[in-house]
């Protein structure tokens, strides 16, 4: 979109402002923790570490429990994202396409988990999981994480489905497509942006989830986040180690974020969240 009466100097000013923002808000904090992670002593007033070492990194890379946490994290995140998508789709479809009594109630209920602190749910559910032999199992962690990311996924998918004109489905039907073919050839391809947005958010949500996973899974089932949280909590906060932890945790998330941002449609994500 061209601004009304755009001028070259205003554009440059905006570019400059953007550059400064990015540098200060993102470059600086990430840069500092990157430096801390290789620092061998860094006391004031030094602006750069007094020495450099790889030992904080090596310590973590040689830790077998960290490796199993990475594997757990990836498996859990993958399964959670997939399962959430499968569970969310029919419900999102119903919310997007049907009108029925008490619809508002269902909508609010679906959003409610977003506004209730995770620890309340985790504590209650954790105790049931013990009875069901789900505590400290992958399955238990997956279930409780699905519960956490489901609301946003349903919300985004529903708003994605709402955006598909019903004429398209009708047209496909008259051209000989049965329900299944409509889902395959029309709904799924047209929901790709919404599914990507929902998938990315549930990936991030699952990957960084802490409280529920910790209470239900840890320490038998550790994810990267719970495994590394210990090094970041007030009790065990050792700055260089914590910095390594942060960077390890950020790497996969950023990778996925960068990969998907090329195909990600902001408006879809915004539409899903910007409507309650």
């Amino acid at each position: 979109m061209k601004p009304v009466g755009s001028s070259r100097s205003r554009g440059l000013l905006l570019s400059l402002a953007a550059l400064v923002c990015v540098l200060l808000m993102l470059g600086l904090p990430f840069g500092i923790i990157a430096l801390w992670s290789v620092s061998d002593g860094w006391f004031p007033p030094s602006l750069l570490p007094d020495g450099f070492t790889a030992r904080h990194w090596l310590m973590f890379l040689n830790d077998p429990s960290l490796r199993s946490a990475v594997v757990n994290s990836l498996v859990i995140t993958f399964v959670v994202t997939l399962a959430t998508m499968i569970i969310a789709m029919p419900t999102a479809w119903a919310l997007a396409r049907y009108t029925f009594p008490l619809k508002k109630v269902v909508e609010v209920f679906v959003l409610a988990p977003l506004i209730v602190p995770g620890i309340v749910v985790a504590v209650g559910l954790g105790r049931v999981f013990l009875k069901l032999d789900l505590a400290y199992t992958m399955l238990g962690v997956i279930i409780i994480q699905v519960a956490g990311v489901l609301p946003m996924t349903i919300r985004i998918l529903a708003s994605g489905f709402e955006a598909i004109p019903s004429d398209l489905i009708a047209a496909a039907r008259t051209l000989g497509a049965n329900r299944i073919a409509v889902v395959r050839h029309i709904l799924v391809p047209l929901s790709v942006p919404a599914m990507l947005a929902a998938g990315l958010l549930s990936f991030i949500g699952s990957f960084e989830e802490f409280e529920r996973t910790f209470i239900v899974g840890a320490p038998i089932v550790h994810t990267l986040t719970t495994r590394l949280y210990i090094n970041l909590s007030g009790a065990g906060l050792v700055v260089p180690v914590a910095s390594v932890v942060c960077l390890i945790l950020l790497l996969p998330v950023f990778l996925v974020f960068m990969l998907t941002s090329r195909i990600m449609r902001d408006d879809v994500m915004a539409a899903g969240m910007g409507k309650l």
Binding site: S15, A18, V108, F109, A147, L276
Partner: protein
Amino acid sequence: MRAVHLLLLLLPGVGVLLATFGLPLFWAVLGAFGLGADGAGFTLIPLTDIFAEPKYRKGLMMSLYYAIAPTTLTLFVAIPLALMLQKSFIGRKLLNGLYKLPLAVPAIVAAFMVLTLFEQGGFIDRLLMLGGWNIGKIVRDPLGIGVILATLWKDVPFMTLIIAGAFGAIPSDTVHAARSLGATRLRAFWAVQLPLAMPGITAATLLCFVKSLGNFAAPSLLGPAYPLPLSILMYDSYRDGDWMAIYAMGTVLILAAFVVLAAYYTLTAAAFGTGKAASSR
């Protein structure tokens, strides 16, 4: 037939949420009144304690403060940023890709980064030292500036994303029309863009608020040692196995969130009721 269809469609999502969220929530509220598995009979004491004991009362205030203050500030950053993203300038695409990064950063990591930067003797302080200044106490300070900074860092991209979406959905012709009718740039913003984007803005504000209400990591690392918000007190009670207190605090937090949600629906129904009806199929 149609009703069966609908129920089958709703079942997976709503069913999972009923089992994994509705039920624990129900127990929590039950527990707060001394009923349920851990209860010793109906009582209001744990709930009234929250308003009677200064530790809890101030904790509730602190929770509300940590939710309201950053959310309000975020609005003032996110709206201009969202507007800026509507303009075209060199590097816009890059900015548009990068500003969302904090969305993917766990809250505890954000809090940690604020600590390394803004702590007394932290990086910013060391920079200021070169000029003979010092940063003062903005971590562990009574106003919780550090907490607000960390929350802001996470919330600004979140809110900007939603608000930019809301602005982007306004046809550019409406603004042009307003300008051609003699509205200044500012006036067009106030009279046309802002009202049209309002549903998105209020939704974003609400989401930020409720997310921050349960904020744990930032207050734990950056907040003053006293008073502690309910989220931390809940964690402490969990450590002590004090279920009643957890459930009572949880119930109060849920209540607070629902009050805000109800207020939101009442207000938006009044303000956008007509618009919503028109846009619905």
